[in-house]
Every structure is written in C-alpha cells, then in structure tokens.
C-alpha cells in the first residue's frame, strides 16, 4: 500500500462521513473526539449505522468490513461504541495483511 494511514487522518475522515450521514450538524457540544459515543452523544440511528458502513466501504475498500465487525458485538458493546474504537478498527483493518484473516 505504501503510505500508512494515521488515526488523525481517519478521525478527520470519520467526521466528514458522519456529517454527511446525519446531515450537516452533529449536534455535539464540541468537535468529534475519540471518546464521542455513537449511542448517547451522536444518537446515531440504525439506518445511519447502515449508511456509515457503506461510506466506510466506499472510502477504504473491502478490508474495512464494518458490518462484519458490528455482527460480533454484544448489546453493551454497541451502546458503549465510541468514535475512537471505529478509528482504531479502520486503522487496524488497513494495517492487516490482505488475506491474512
């Protein structure tokens, strides 16, 4: 792949994606941060999770399989899910050796 993607770059991309997914206003008190939660802070709806998964796929390609990742989660994981966890997931997915599982 050549260049390694940073958490900062993914966070900035996620900010843009989420703004597009929910409309033009995230309704947050401050900027999107690593500890921003999807359920309580962003109040992301299920239909918006679907849109987020699609946009991550378009942006980063098939190695970032958000749908498969969410399918492994328990209810408490989903309630507690933060922006930082998604950023880490994207970075780790892209760093993984293709085809290495």
């Amino acid at each position: 792949m050549g260049e390694e993607i940073t958490a900062e770059a993914v966070l900035a991309e996620l900010d843009a994606i989420l703004t597009e997914v929910v409309g033009d206003d995230l309704l947050l008190d401050g900027p999107l941060a690593m500890d921003t939660s999807f359920d309580e802070d962003l109040q992301l709806e299920s239909i918006e999770f679907v849109a987020l998964a699609e946009k991550l796929l378009i942006t980063y390609g098939e190695r970032v399989d958000f749908v498969a990742w969410m399918a492994t989660m328990e209810l408490d994981d989903i309630i507690a899910l933060t922006v930082g966890q998604v950023v880490d997931f994207v970075v780790e997915s892209l760093a993984a050796v293709p085809g290495g599982g």
């Binding site: 359920d39 969410m70 989903i78």
Partner: protein, 393 residues
C-alpha cells in the same frame, strides 16, 4: 362458544387493537377477557370488560415508573432498557398470575401480545392453543438480523425465562415466544410490511381499530376547508419527549399555506402560529377524514390509521419499533422520513410540502389503504382466532 383470554402488556398501542377483535368475538357468542397489569391496563378497556389482574399493584407501579424513566433513552440503550428493565421482568412477574387467570376464566385459547411473553410461557407450559397478536409489525421483520450476537442473547433470555417457569428445556429452546407455531395475527398487510421473517402461519388482517368509538370535543369550526391540512402527532407516550420537535414543527408551519393540528400538551407549544391548532387529545379517526397528510413518530396504530385513510406520512421515528415501521412506509412509497432529533425547519417544511403534493406518495398510501380494506380487520382476526378452536367448541 369458547373462552378467549387476551394477554396484554400495559401499552395503549398494544391493547387498543384487541378491543374491536374481542367485541367481534363477543358478538359471535364467545366469552372474552383480558389479563395484564392492574390499573393502567384495565383503564384502557371499555367499561364492563372482564379483566383478571396478573400481578400485584406493586408490579404495575414498577412498570409505570420504568415507563416514566424511558423518555431519556433512545437507540440501543432504549432497546436494552425495554428488554431487560421492562419486558423480561414483566414476563417473569406475570407468569403465575396469567396461569391463575387461565384457570379462573376457563380459557380455551390464549391471545398473546408479542410484548406480553408470560402468555406464551403459560400456553407452552400448559400445552394449550395460543395465538400471537402482533399489534405492531416491528418484530415480524427481524430487526436484529445484522446483529446475530445480540439476537442470540435475546433468544437465550427468553429460553431462560421459560426454563425458570418450568417449561421443559428442550421445548423452551425451540421456536420463539414471539411467534406461536399455531397462528400469528398481524394487524397489517404484506403491502406495507414487505417480506416477514416469521416461521409460523400468519393471518394479515390489517388494522382492527378503524371502527373504534372516539370521544369528540374537537372544535371543528376552526378547520379551514380552503387550505390543505396536516395532523402532527407523536402518539400517546411520546408527546412530552417532543418539545424540540414540536418547536421545529411550529416554525416549519408558520406562514405556510397549510393548516396544522398538533396533538400535544398546550404548554409544549407556547405561542403557536395562527395556522396551528394545538389539542391535547383529538378524535383521530374523524380528524383523519379531513386531513391531507400526517406527521408522525411512526407508532404502528397511527401509521396504519393514516394509511387506511389513504394519506401520505412524514415520519420522525423516536425509538423501539418506530424506525422499522417508518422504513416500511418509505419502502411502500407512502411517506418520507426525517430525523426526530436533528430535523431542521426547512427540511421538515419541505417534507410536509412533499407529503401534501406528491402524487407518488398519495398513490403509495392509497395502495396500502386498498390492501387494508381487503384484509378484513377485526372480523378477519376473529375468524383466525376461531380457527384454533377444536370442533366441539
């Protein structure tokens, strides 16, 4: 003659559809009764109805208090709260009372709401005929299909509930408390719900509430027949949670060519614009006949009554089954969706304008209305429930 016992949760939207069905069964010479929480549930039934309390008043008070705490939570947290703090405890607490009610009433058939799981537990334990009453279509379409770990945990919780109540563990692990293998009666049609994910015989009967009696103190003379008219309702449970939404809606209507009726406590909409009427309660069915479009949170009964009138919807789902119902309406091309917590004035105004003017949405709503009219409503539900009786009854 047979005895039908309706097992219901303490929620208006889940009790109301059973009332006309019970009246129809009664008219056919059967006996009907309800069991559930004393107090709030009993108050939803017509005067003179037979009601057998399934719990103590203390349990009813706990569930009412849980309902009062809910307006703060949405999304996945709301789902967890509903399942773990309301529906599963309710089921555990109701099992013994429902069992006693079956004996006291001499029930031949249980009609069990999908949110009154105790009825299914008792029916399975006693090996008696039971039907599922799907008063909303939210549980017919497997909303957890993308979250298999969550779905399995919910299934296991319902298995554990049965085992704790004395159901054979092998039997408990089979099937689904939310779908009787004998019969599921769904108060919708396939034209609206689309493909269902239930492995059981389903009778699609459409809405049963279209003939229900309504208290009417509406100031009809204030409706302006020269203007298009919009009803804005967040249902019985959610009006108080809708402060921001009603404020946005009032601004979206201000100065527009249409007239709006908001179903809300007056204090939630201070200084409404001249073309907005605010009423705490309305005779919804009678009002729908005069409306041209409806803005709703996506409660199943309001959505179905609106579509039965052939009217397009603007949907702002809040929680629970409402996003699922909203998706169905959008797929049926009978409405548009906005975001309850984020929608802004211009977007809501444009959505209302679209609902009022789009011939496609009007055609979509009328197509669903046609399917409802053909489905048979309360009489078709009564037919389905009667089909569970042995020939001797």
């Amino acid at each position: 003659m047979a005895r039908f016992l309706f097992v219901v949760p303490p929620f208006t939207g889940h009790v109301n559809p059973t009332v006309p069905v019970a009246a129809e069964l009664d008219r056919r010479g059967h006996e009907v009764a309800w069991t559930g929480l004393p107090g709030s549930t009993e108050a939803l039934l017509p005067a003179g109805s037979r009601f057998l309390p399934a719990t103590s008043p203390e349990v009813a008070a706990y569930v009412d208090a849980a309902g009062d705490r809910r307006p703060d939570v949405r999304g996945a947290a709301a789902f967890k709260f509903l399942q773990e703090e309301v529906l599963l405890p309710l089921a555990r607490e109701m099992v013994d009372g429902v069992d006693a009610a079956v004996d006291e009433f001499g029930a031949d058939v249980l009609v069990v709401d999908q949110q009154a799981l105790a009825g299914a537990v008792v029916a399975r334990r006693r090996q008696m005929p039971w039907a599922t009453s799907a008063t909303t279509s939210g549980e017919l379409v497997d909303p957890l299909s993308a979250l298999p770990v969550v779905a399995e945990a919910m299934h296991q919780a319902r298995v554990d509930l049965q085992i704790a109540a004395g159901v054979d563990p092998v039997v408990a692990a089979e099937g689904d408390l939310r779908a009787s293998p004998h019969l599921v009666v769904a108060y919708t049609t396939e034209a609206l719900v689309g493909e269902v994910a239930v492995d059981a015989p389903i009778a699609f009967v459409g809405p049963s509430t279209l003939g229900r009696p309504e208290a009417d103190d509406f100031p009809w003379e204030l409706l302006d027949d020269q203007r298009p008219k919009v009803l804005v309702s967040l249902g019985t449970l959610n009006a108080d949670a809708g402060e921001r939404f009603f404020s946005v809606a009032a601004e979206a209507c201000a100065g527009e060519r249409w007239q709006a009726v908001f179903v809300a406590p007056a204090e939630l909409v201070p200084d409404p614009p001249p073309n907005v009427l605010v009423r705490a309660r309305v005779p919804q069915l009678a009002l729908l006949e005069r409306m041209d479009a409806v803005v709703s949170h996506g409660g199943h009964n309001t959505v179905c009554e609106t579509l039965a009138a052939g009217l397009p919807l603007v949907l702002a789902p809040i929680r629970d089954d409402q996003p699922v119902v909203a998706d169905q309406v959008v797929r049926a091309a009978a409405g548009v969706r906005v975001k309850f917590n984020r929608v802004k004035v211009p977007d809501l105004r444009a959505a209302i304008e679209e609902a009022l003017t789009s011939t496609e949405l009007r055609a979509g709503a009328e197509a669903v209305a046609g399917s409802f009219a053909a489905a048979g409503g309360a009489a078709a539900a009564a037919d389905a429930f009667e089909s569970l009786l042995p020939p001797s009854l």
